[in-house]
């Protein structure tokens, strides 16, 4: 059945690929949170010069496949003189992608907070940005974190797509060793196992975070 010798021998190499996967995931996550927050606030703005570009970004990303987005950044941009290399292309592609989904999640969380909260804050002479930062966003976080955590889990799995732009992360590492070992079953099972470890750990951390943001709610 399974060739345990191959598994024991190649596991450390796949683990190395998984480390790169994790790095890409975390960097894209941070970029995705920043993009998501900015796009959400812009889309909620009264100013059309902020609202329209944000709406366009969200629409564009959500209506095209991630793989095509990655190809445009990695293969397409160099044609107009922007050569980011595989790592940056991967992180930016994934970050912009998850950012668009986060934007809708964050916007939904913000508008779910009763308008009375903003009115109370404004009547206490808080500026709109202070009210957003201290009153609305902390409450919205409770609503935002579960679906955004879900976006992050999807992101970890989607990092396997950057194997197509020559980034030797977990999936591509597994693929490469198949060429020399002819053991696709072992290699892909190990990769699957490592993805499962990462996504499950992320889920557990998120559950903890959810608990912490539900302060004051019974």
């Amino acid at each position: 059945m399974l060739d345990w010798g191959v598994i024991v021998h190649y596991f450390p190499f796949l683990l190395k690929g998984a480390v790169l996967t994790l790095q890409i995931s975390i960097l894209s996550l941070l970029l995705g949170i920043a993009c998501g927050l900015i796009a959400a606030l812009c889309k909620l703005s009264k100013n059309p010069l902020l609202r329209w570009p944000a709406a366009f970004y969200i629409w564009l990303i959500r209506s095209t496949p991630l793989l095509v987005q990655l190809f445009i950044i990695y293969f397409g941009l160099p044609q107009i003189g922007i050569d980011l290399g595989p790592f940056l292309s991967g992180v930016i592609g994934l970050g912009l992608n998850v950012g668009a989904y986060n934007a809708e999640t964050i916007r939904g969380g913000i508008v779910s907070i009763p308008v009375g909260q903003t009115e109370a804050a404004r009547s206490l002479a808080m500026s709109s940005s202070l009210a957003m930062r201290r009153i609305i966003l902390p409450q919205a976080l409770r609503v935002i974190i579960p679906p955004m955590g879900n976006n992050f889990i999807i992101l970890i799995k989607d990092t396997s797509l950057v194997s197509t732009i020559t980034l030797v992360e977990l999936t591509l590492t597994a693929q490469r060793f198949i060429g020399s070992t002819y053991k696709p079953f072992e290699m892909y099972l190990m990769a699957a196992f490592l993805y499962a470890v990462m996504t499950t750990t992320a889920s557990l951390l998120l559950a903890k975070l959810e608990k912490r943001t539900s302060r004051g709610h019974r």
């Binding site: 009763p114 009115e119 109370a120 404004r122 009547s123 002479a125 009153i135 709610h217 019974r218």
Partner: protein
Amino acid sequence: MKTENQDQTQPMVKITNLQKSFGDLTVLKDINLEIAASEVVVIIGPSGSGKSTLLRCVNHLEKPSGGEIYIEGELINDTTLKTKAFETHLNRIRCKVGMVFQQFNLFPHMTVIENVIEAPIHVLKQDRKKARKKAEELLTQVGLAEKLNSYPAQLSGGQQQRVAIARSLAMEPKLMLFDEVTSALDPELVGDVLRVMEDLALGGMTMMVVTHEMGFAEKVGDRVIFMADGFVVEDSSPQEMFSNPKEIRTQQFLAEI
């Protein structure tokens, strides 16, 4: 900046020709009102007559469609100011005007004391220690010294409303707006809130109070205003208003309640 001439007898609030429309619906048609410092003005009227809208215009939660509102002689809806300058101007005036809502609107993610010190620290830039000390005093004053570290969800409606009053008072306002602050409360909790408001009135606070509590209006009010169809129909002392209303609209309204 437009200001009325400043003198000793300057009213706390002066409203002239105030209009407010929502789309085609004109809620306030022509409101004219002066409120002196330390005066307690109770506003009554049928549902939909624009009582809440009037209060909300006074601290600019609603933007008037026409007319002027002056707080201590300063025009709040100053249309000559640009966006940024207007926000600064507005927040400076809002520091002087506290508002308490029917639904309390406490910040649920903060404890009672955190609710009270939030604006003093982040808006008035008060030192945290000083803000806490003041907040403890205020919460003691409204009978909640035991609840400093509770969350709003752990309090009764009456307790939440008293926290909301303390939260407004922490800004040391000169004018307080109360919009049906006891309407969402169980009857047995109304008294505690009204007592806090009465104490505040005795302490000299200028107050605009929308309420259905006619007992409170009679006992605490200096003046009662009856609003209907977007106008101030009658404006008199509580005694006059309740024992001898002049306008037919007022008589009908008071007969119904």
